[in-house]
Symmetry: C2
Subunit: 315 residues, 2 copies
DNA sequence: CTGAAAGCGCTTACAG
DNA sequence: CTGAAAGCGCTTACAG
């Protein structure tokens, strides 16, 4: 199996390699006749241009890195798949990196991606103040985050409006007659955790609810911690309002929420749309638009999905 | 942000770029003094060698393609993650491609990966006779499959021994006193489906079981089809042996099998080990060993995991 | 142990 | 519309 180069094609067609290059790059300044001749030879010969050689000159690899905590987590496998699909249609390939939430591994990946000359990096779960990303950003490599954002005002992101989401949840409970509403929070090193908590506090003020600080418990996205928090809440002198049982709203419409035996009322995040948007906007507004310095800062509206775990208060 | 090249480092160190290159590539023929000086300058300056330029000469990209049906399927997200992790430790990056089982998309990806000059391709779900892969293989690009194999005797693979797996299952049922044993098969275009069926037929002969052809029903990995097949089996004049209900063995120890309300006895495949092996053997035995033409053909032993869906026959 | 030179397979002004 | 030449940032014989 001999590997063909652009020179082989040029010789065979009786033209210079410049002309072959123009045909490959869809340059208009080639006569129809020459173009067709070359195109034919390329097809017949099975010649494939070497992207490596091309990248060396153009400084574009058409490769993007995706840094996520864990592809086994359904949120990330679903969004990764859509990101990959969207990028492919735009001519890009994706290198997926699982950090397992370890910042040393994230740094390892950042170095790998820099050395591989990726055109940019998408982050799926940034900590609000990640000094390593700030340092890396100084290299001038374009990046964007989804699901979570950096606190930096000039950062690019596509996220769900977490403040609004919690307000939807609180409003729903109030509409059902509840007044004592508690909140089990996520970790505060992510914008998701920070903003949902902020949304809860704002909602309490808007609706004039009990400001009892016991009604906010740290759950930390851990089953165990959340279970402890729940017990604390139930044993409060004035526990959260109780209908038949307790009205309960989750966040992120994970598959388990709709399970027949669970039927959790939930705030639903448009994760598929988010994934498509982050990939498209990153390529179109940032990577292919380097001169313009346009910021991408998108907050998607969450939705309330009412199922069986919330109901009217029964006094 | 100015981009440094090997020439900048060379000038700064007062040596030629050849010497810098040797240091970067850990060539021994450099004096300790020069080496340390250069290493220091590299560190201080934040210089990162350009892998693209290097690849153009070495013809190695240290990139591997992984072609799977769907990263959302837990089997593939779990194995992909391990493959990626294993490859990273060996110095390789991974481009994951989801075909959704569509051969046109697989071809698209094959072309992309060829153009990107990947060092090899790992396939997660090949059809036994995939003419496109055969055609592609003629390009001389190394490849290997896992989970499923090509019928081609000279192909590389790491799979589970599916024939043996079914035999384990049949033997277990016989040990429990069953004699009328039925089998709901998978699609025959995969080695998994073919070999499990073959294993079932061989087991019937070995244990002198009823050769009734009604006891083999096509399930096609589809819930609906399998349900039809089950009804057909139950309504047979002589149905499969019935204890309290029916003894049932699944294949592939998916998470649902161990669910508290399911407790399916199952043939378990060492998928994590399989993933690690396919990545390691591919790099060590095939990619880094091109001259030797060594075949990698590994069949891992499956295990029987006994839970609650199988029990002694009660006459 | 070190350097000068050639070359990997392309693209891109420049000139015609 | 087309070609000759320079160059992208490295590696690698070859020579000393």
């Amino acid at each position: 199996m001999i590997k063909l180069t652009i020179i082989d094609i040029a010789n065979f067609a009786g033209v210079s390699k410049s002309t072959v290059s123009r045909v490959i790059n869809k340059d208009k300044h080639v006569s129809k006749k020459t173009r067709e001749k070359i195109l034919n030879i390329i097809k017949e010969s099975g010649y494939v241009p070497d992207n490596i050689a091309r990248s060396l000159i153009t400084k574009k690899t058409y490769t993007i890195g995706l840094i996520i905590p864990d592809i086994i987590n359904p949120f990330y496998s679903e969004t990764s798949k859509i990101i990959e699909d969207t990028l492919r249609k735009l001519g890009y390939s994706l290198i997926i990196c699982n950090t397992n939430n370890r910042s040393t591994l994230q740094n390892t990946y950042l170095n790998i991606l820099i050395q591989r000359k990726v055109d940019g990096i998408i982050f799926g779960s940034v900590k609000t103040n990640d000094s390593n990303i700030v340092k890396f950003a100084e290299r001038g490599l374009p990046y964007i985050t989804y699901h979570r954002r950096l606190s930096d005002k000039k950062s690019n992101f596509v996220i769900s409006d977490d403040i609004d989401g919690i307000k939807l949840a609180v409003k729903h409970l109030i509409d059902l007659g509840h007044r004592n509403i508690a909140y089990i929070s996520g970790p505060k090193l992510f914008s998701t955790g920070i903003n949902r908590l902020r949304g809860f506090i704002e909602a309490r003020n808007i609706f004039n609810l009990n400001n009892n600080s016991d009604f906010i418990q740290e759950g930390g996205y851990s089953e165990n911690k959340s279970w402890q928090a729940t017990k604390t809440l139930i044993n409060l002198p004035i526990p959260p309002t109780v209908p038949k049982d307790i009205s309960l709203i989750g966040y992120d419409n994970i598959n388990l929420a709709s399970h027949a035996r669970i039927q959790l009322t939930t705030i639903s995040v448009a994760k598929k749309y988010m994934a498509k948007q982050v990939a498209e906007l990153f390529v179109k507004k940032i990577i292919n638009n380097k001169h313009k310095l346009e910021l991408v800062q998108v907050k998607l509206k969450p939705k309330l999905v009412i199922r069986k775990t919330t109901s009217k208060i029964s006094i």
